[in-house]
């Protein structure tokens, strides 16, 4: 029973509301999502609180695991879906979409070396 005057909380849902953001991204690395860009992405994703998932068709990878990302075997020009869910999702999706859309092996700022 909710005491009068306190904010209502939906049954079973966490107090932090879900802020899932999904964006399509075309992979711009000319060699695809190989080891270094995958490692750079996982490292960048790991800095956010939000859950990060990357979809290639029916396959899904945990964006914080570089070996998981390698299992997508995503070649250059692949259309991926980036899904980010958490309190810092908006910042995360911006930074991570930039990384996937960057042609440089290690992303825009050279992370992952």
């Amino acid at each position: 029973m909710t005491p009068a005057g306190s904010p209502a909380v939906e049954d079973g849902l966490p107090i932090t509301e879900s802020r899932a953001v999904r964006v399509p991204v075309v992979l711009r690395n000319p060699l695809g999502l190989h080891m270094r860009p995958a490692a750079a992405f996982a490292k960048a994703a790991g800095k956010f609180l939000a859950d990060v998932k990357v979809f290639k068709g029916t396959r899904t990878a945990n964006g914080k695991s570089f070996t998981n990302l390698l299992m997508l075997a995503a070649g250059p020009g692949t259309e991926l879906i980036l899904q980010v869910d958490g309190p810092d999702a908006e910042d995360a999706v911006r930074a991570l979409a930039d990384l996937l859309g960057s042609p440089s092996p290690d992303g825009v700022d050279g992370v992952g070396h």
Partner: protein, 158 residues
């Protein structure tokens, strides 16, 4: 995997004790199998070590995938070495590596490289595969295991 790993470059008992020795040993095995000229070997070793300097290719679970790209190969080629003692590789999980897949790919063919990385990561998640490979004592046993291990991506995309 069976398309790219070279039978004559399967090394069941590596002698290397360091990462650089391991890379030399496996590039040497590819050379012995006919893939590089003697003059080309140091350049390949140097390029693989330069790539390691950008971040270890030790993916954890005792597996590493040192690699580079090299002009003039007919196709992507790979060697696989087993180290009984383990080789320090600065892996992400901090453990020494026992299976070293060394790949040299063509710069103009990213697809096979990506598929082979995927395959190696997938088989490395299998305790059964890792145990079976580490139990191999001869090149023939290694080759047999590789022949009977399905390429997961091939099944997936059929």
């Amino acid at each position: 995997m069976k398309e790219f790993l070279i039978r004559e470059a399967l090394v069941p008992n590596m002698v290397a004790a360091t990462k650089e020795e391991a890379v030399r040993e496996l590039v040497g095995a590819l050379h012995a199998a006919g893939y590089f000229t003697a003059e080309g070997v140091p350049a390949v070793v140097k390029e693989i070590m330069r790539r390691e300097g950008l971040g270890s290719t030790g993916i954890g679970r005792g597996v590493a995938i040192p690699h580079s790209r090299f002009d003039g190969l007919p196709k992507l080629v790979g060697a696989l070495g087993l180290s009984r003692a383990g080789v320090p590789f600065q892996s992400i999980d901090g453990h020494d590596v026992h299976l070293i897949f060394l790949l040299v790919s063509r710069p103009d063919q990213p697809g096979p490289h990506l598929h082979l990385l995927e395959t190696i990561v997938r088989v490395s998640e299998s305790d059964e595969f890792l145990a079976a490979m580490r139990a191999c004592e001869t090149q023939d046993q290694m080759w047999e295991l590789i022949q009977t291990t399905p390429d997961p991506w091939a099944q997936d995309e059929q």
